[in-house]
Amino acid sequence: MRKQKMDLDAVARFNRIAAPTNFFFSLFFILLALVCVVPLVFVAIISFSSNASIQKIGYSFMPLEWSLDAYKYIWRERSSVGTAFLVSIGITVIGTITGLFLTSTMGYVLSRPTFKLRRFFTMLIFIPMLFGGGLVAAYLINTRMLGLQNSYLALLLPVAVSSFNCIILRTYFQTTVPDSIIESAKIDGARQLLIFFQMILPISLPALATVGLMLSIGYWNDWFSTMLYIGSDHQDMYPLQYVLISIERNMDFLTKNAQFMSPDSSRLKLPAESTRMAIVMVVVLPIAMSYPYFQKYFISGLTIGSVKG
């Protein structure tokens, strides 16, 4: 056994690309990796640049002067930015839970080989993968019929389920959860509801984590639903992503409380450019800090999802 392992290493060593090629490949990938993260670093630098520096030399990797003004300003305006942050978190948490519930129940039902209506439900989730009503019909139905305009439900429900996620979980339940434990639970008199919630869900945590993370990222990054369903007269309902859009051209969202500011704080001039970038940092940091740890779940989700069935 040990001998075999050594042979394999020797073969792998023999089959490696030449050292110079490896050097150039490595260099190339280091450059490519930098290209992927430099914009974020740049935005961080801008957010720490002083207003004077930005006015004088524009956005620069080496500002003339560093400053915390942008972050101080956001802290001062925490009633608006903070609320948006909480809205983002609330939508992400509640949306992910709702989505996971809807996706996992359907995935489980589709995975039961003896279920008589299995074909019906498979068609139910399969048809929308091929044909959709499109934005206009969905928008009109959601606003005029379901009354979702200016409601948090509009940010939660329409994106909660995707057939793709249902298939990921179905495939997982089918391949990983042995039929025998479900059968034996049934013989013991357990009901399907009980089996699902007390047996299946606890042993399926890796797959649930995968789908849950995909959902969370989707909710955290969603701005389109807000753009469609939340009017500008409901600014207090904006999640962070949409705050970024609304301050793109003017800072009204942040300055609307200006009249309530004490004379002392109104003297602090709004550092508009760096504040925008600071809010970008507030949006991105939670993801940038955590994705290196959860990316493995994503990768497994991608590979399960590309297994057809």
Binding site: R16, C36, I54, L130, F131, V280, A288, Y291
Partner: protein, 310 residues
């Protein structure tokens, strides 16, 4: 016969379990499908009536919405843009990601490969709004890095957001930048899953690295490449709204190169409030998408039955 269709207690419980999601599908997937008839109507909300009733009672106008839509110059532009961008995105994206996956699988240092993978995955997790700020920090007319650099080199600064000719390149770059980490990891997962004994046999036969790629790796990747290909062909009439609307900051002078079907549908619906045009374009997008994915799947079935999607 009848007995076969009797649902057992088990079946009923499973149906109950599927009920909430079924309701979701009816409301958010199937109702809009029925709602597409709006494209053949002159929709007017009737006062005091529900949406469905208004829709059913609105006047049928046949294909008038489509006729008028195609009488505008917008129609040709948005279809050209959507298809052309997608075609380039699919081909270039696939070539780049497969090549990168092949290359990174060869790196001697697995640690470097891991770090690089992680860094390259970052853009995939960012929203297009955030990306639009990244782009703005480089392209802003007065403060962007590119213009500062041009000025230092003694060249004229460029009004990037007003100059259409640069944008096809920019959009392609951003699309590749955002998706390459994801694509690379996806293909890499398949490459590492290939049975090592295949390569050993090839080495004994004296196969060069390039021959190993050509006769082992690529053929083994073929199923996943085909599946991803069908899925992207099925979306050839859809575009990333954020990429084409947010990133160019909805800039007027750029419309010719940034207006895709999705952008038009959104603008016609929200801005111009033209439900007729908007719904006609949206329905066309759905129907053409259905046709292309079915065709692509048919072709793949002929080539390699096992790689077909359905």
């Amino acid at each position: 016969m009848r007995k076969k269709w009797r649902l057992s207690a088990d079946d009923i419980e499973l149906t109950l379990l599927a009920l909430p999601t079924t309701v979701w599908y009816l409301l958010f997937a199937y109702l809009p499908m029925f709602g597409v008839i709006i494209a053949f109507k002159k929709f007017k909300p009737l006062p005091g009536k529900g949406f469905l009733e208004s829709l059913l009672k609105s006047k049928w106008v046949g294909i008038d919405n489509f006729k008028y839509l195609f009488a505008t110059p917008d129609a040709a532009i948005m279809f050209r843009n959507t298809i052309a961008y997608n075609a380039v995105f699919i081909v270039v994206g696939m070539l780049i990601t497969v090549t990168l996956a092949l290359m990174i699988s060869q790196l001697h240092s697995k640690r470097l490969a891991k770090v690089v993978q992680t860094m390259m995955f970052l853009p995939y997790f960012l929203s297009m709004v955030v990306v639009s700020y990244f782009v703005f920090s480089f392209l802003s007319a007065d403060k962007g890095v590119l213009n500062v650099l041009l000025k230092q080199l003694g060249m004229e600064p460029v009004q990037w957001y007003m100059t259409p000719k640069y944008w096809p390149g920019f959009l392609l770059f951003i699309n590749v930048w955002k998706g390459m980490g994801y694509g690379m990891v996806l293909y890499l997962a398949s490459i590492t899953g290939i049975d090592a004994s295949l390569y050993e046999a090839a080495i004994i036969d004296g196969a060069s690295k390039w021959q190993q790629v050509k006769f082992i790796t690529l053929p083994m990747l073929q199923p996943i490449i085909l599946i991803l290909f069908i899925m992207s062909i099925g979306r050839i009439f859809s575009s990333d709204f954020g990429l084409f609307y947010q990133v160019p900051r909805n800039s007027g002078p750029l419309v010719d190169v940034t207006q895709t079907i999705d952008v038009y549908v959104y603008k016609a619906l929200m801005g111009m409030n033209n439900i007729g045009f908007s719904s006609a374009a949206a329905l066309l997008q759905s129907v053409l998408g259905l046709i292309t994915i079915s065709l692509a799947n048919l072709i793949v079935t002929k080539v390699d039955k096992d790689s077909a999607l359905f």
